[in-house]
């Protein structure tokens, strides 16, 4: 991986035709032998993590949330940190699938499916935490308004109730958007499968999609509308998550910059996670011609841009604490700088503020090891950011009686790493059983590239394989019957 690959504006770097494109994506599903040892290792690690998650949830349900390190001033800790972190990771998927679609950024075609899958799995991980944090997850339906003999409805003026609606809407719409994009690809997998199980399974999933013009006509309308609806949705979700903090009176939480700062942080962490997954996957599965250095370069730039917004947020927090002349805000700020958790604050600045600046250099953006490392560091940094905001702010409050340290326990970590394993397992199953790259959108892109009417590569010369695909097509006898 250390070898530097060429960076140019061609989005499909090998001569492809529709058939070869289909094959290079479809074979991940149809040829199990392609998934070598590495797949099994990652899958089993993920499975082990899922097992750990299962054990920690069982123990939690048996013992209650006392097994966590949460205490009385610090009643929101790892559970909420992880909730916010995971939900933020999901945001890159919606950004790629919806916002870049609206902006007609066709380079998204080869990464959107992957990122959307990440969104769904990340939201699944996120959703677990607040439910388990209630302590009685079997009563989770109390969060929803339903007719009951108590005559009680939830308190709709609470930011926590807004969260319920925001996160469940986000999950539902992401799932629907993802599944809708998968239908035509299921149809194409149905037609390619050679074994009976695959044929039946994909036929059921594709629901009889036949690629008719009427289908596509309505599909495109629905797709565009869903993109248009998801765009404000994704911005609203992390805005509402940030309201959980911003509308309270806790020092360190009550900051009006939170909504944009949280959204930018979410996209920042999300793109980092996309890069962390895509860099190994494209190398292992020979997808370097579809997920090119150009894609990585652009993703790094988005990461850098959102990282700078986040850095601005950190600076503004300091400014606010000083300029507001609010003693408790100032006290908290000093506590972040030099208190018992100062290491986490300075590590956060290093991870999110300093290290991502490497992405200014094109040379660094082309070195995949550096890119992977920076992405991993950003993932850690964004987790630390939520740690610094959530539990650390609670350890230093208005009253001296609220000054209490927070120390996570083994089960806090077990559950966090457990959700990571769960996420990894789901991603591995996704790569194995579902088309990891949107096949029909790639064909559409190829069609545009071949016709040179694409706005994708304004500076590129006509690609050398402009006429190649026609020759490469399998010859079919012209049988105009009778």
């Amino acid at each position: 991986m250390a070898k530097q690959e060429v960076l140019n504006d061609v989005l499909i770097t090998k001569p492809h035709n529709y058939e070869s494109l289909e094959d290079s994506i479809g074979r991940l599903i149809l040829k199990p032998q392609l998934h070598k040892k590495a797949w099994w290792i990652f899958f089993l690690v993920g499975l082990a993590g899922t097992g750990m998650l299962g054990i920690s949830i069982t123990w939690l349900l048996y013992q209650g949330i006392g097994i966590w390190g949460n205490n009385v001033p610090v009643s929101w800790a790892f559970d909420i940190v992880n909730f916010v972190w995971w939900i933020g990771i999901g945001h890159a998927g919606t950004l790629i699938s919806a916002i870049l679609l609206l902006f007609k950024q066709q380079w998204r075609n080869s990464i959107n499916r992957f990122a959307e899958a990440m969104t769904i799995f990340a939201v699944m991980c996120a959703g677990m935490y607040p439910l388990l944090h209630t302590g009685r997850p079997w009563n989770a339906y109390w969060l929803f308004p339903y007719p009951n003999i108590l005559g009680m409805l939830p308190q709709f003026r609470s930011a926590l109730e807004w969260d319920v609606f925001a996160v469940s809407t986000y999950f539902t719409i992401s799932l629907v958007f993802w599944f809708m994009g998968l239908i035509p690809d299921f149809a194409s997998m149905r037609d390619r499968s050679t074994n009976k199980f695959g044929k039946v399974a994909f036929a059921l999933l594709s629901m009889g999609w036949r690629g008719s013009n009427q289908h596509w006509h309505r599909y495109e309308q629905a797709n565009l509308l869903l993109a248009g609806l998801s765009t404000p949705l994704v911005l609203s979700v992390h805005t509402i998550v940030s309201y959980d903090f911003a509308i309270s009176i806790v020092p360190g939480w009550n900051v009006t910059v939170f909504p944009p700062y949280f959204v930018a942080g979410a996209v920042f962490a999300g793109f980092a996670m996309v890069l962390n997954f895509l860099i190994p996957v494209r190398a292992f599965y020979g997808l370097k011609d579809l997920i090119t250095m150009r894609h990585i370069d652009w993703m790094c730039k988005i990461m850098l841009a959102t990282g700078l917004i986040v850095l601005y947020g950190y600076i503004l927090e300091v400014f606010y604490a000083v300029y507001s002349a609010n003693f408790y805000e100032y006290k908290l700020l000093m506590d972040r700088f030099q208190g018992p958790y100062a290491w986490s604050y300075w590590l956060l600045i290093l991870c999110n503020g300093v290290i991502p600046q490497l992405m200014w250099s094109q040379k660094m953006r082309q070195n995949l090891i550096v890119v992977w490392g920076v992405s991993a560091v950003v993932g850690l940094g964004m987790w630390l950011e939520r740690f610094v905001i959530i539990p650390v702010s609670l350890t230093n409050n208005y009253l001296p009686s609220s000054n209490k340290m927070y120390i996570p326990t083994f089960w806090d970590f077990a559950m966090f790493f457990g959700t990571m394993g769960f996420f990894l397992m789901l991603m591995m199953l996704f790569i194995r059983f579902l088309p990891a790259i949107n096949v029909f959108e790639m064909k559409d892109l190829l069609h545009k590239v071949l016709n040179n009417d694409s706005k994708v590569e304004p500076n590129a010369e006509r690609t050398p394989y402009g006429n190649a695909p026609k020759e490469a097509l399998p010859t079919v006898e012209k049988e105009v019957a009778k």
Binding site: F156, T169, M180, M207, S212, L225, L233, V476
Partner: protein
């Protein structure tokens, strides 16, 4: 495909021509429409811009339904909160007004998106007639490539101008890879 009946003159679904590029499909569809065929459909592995115009297919039900869905979501979302906090169980929280609109916006907004988004998906599925376990077009030889790299144009037998031989002649003039008469 036999269905176990003794009837040896199966009904025709129509004539299906196969092309190897989207451009040929568009021009064929254009010609068929100009020739006055009404019951036409084209099949392709990816959406092709201009194909709907070429075929003369236009349908705007999905956007209108989504708009209606959004309105329903907004009213339900707002109405639910208004009912709960103003009509059913008025509760004074910190002296704030009962109809505190800003606090009702997030849920109203989420409900709008939720209902509109679900409408977009389900109206697309329903109007396209999915799930559909059987469709005659799949009887076309080689139709499994319609989802891979081939482009098909079907003139259905229900068309008033449809004539097995003349229509076949008409399609053959467009230099397709093949033309097949497909059973219903």
């Amino acid at each position: 495909m036999s269905h176990g009946y003794a009837d040896d003159s199966p009904k025709s679904f129509g004539l299906v021509a196969e092309f190897d590029t989207p451009e040929k499909l568009i021009s064929a569809a254009e010609k068929a429409r100009q020739a006055g065929f009404k019951k036409l459909d084209a099949y392709s592995p990816f959406p092709i811009h201009g194909l709907s115009d070429a075929i003369g297919f236009r349908d705007v039900k999905v956007p209108y339904l989504v708009f209606a869905g959004g309105l329903v979501g907004a009213f339900v979302g707002y109405g639910l909160q208004f009912y709960a906090h103003v009509l059913d169980y008025p509760m004074n929280v910190g002296g704030k007004p009962l109809v505190s609109i800003p606090s009702m916006i997030p849920i109203t907004f989420e409900m709008t998106i939720l209902v509109a988004g679900l409408t977009a998906f389900f109206s697309m599925i329903a109007l396209n007639g999915l799930p559909k376990p059987y469709h005659s077009i799949f009887n076309t030889p080689g139709f499994n490539r319609a989802s891979q790299d081939r482009f098909f144009l079907a003139i259905e037998s229900g068309d008033p101008q449809f004539d097995s031989d003349k229509t076949r002649q008409f399609l053959a003039e467009m230099a397709p890879l093949s033309v097949h008469e497909v059973e219903a």
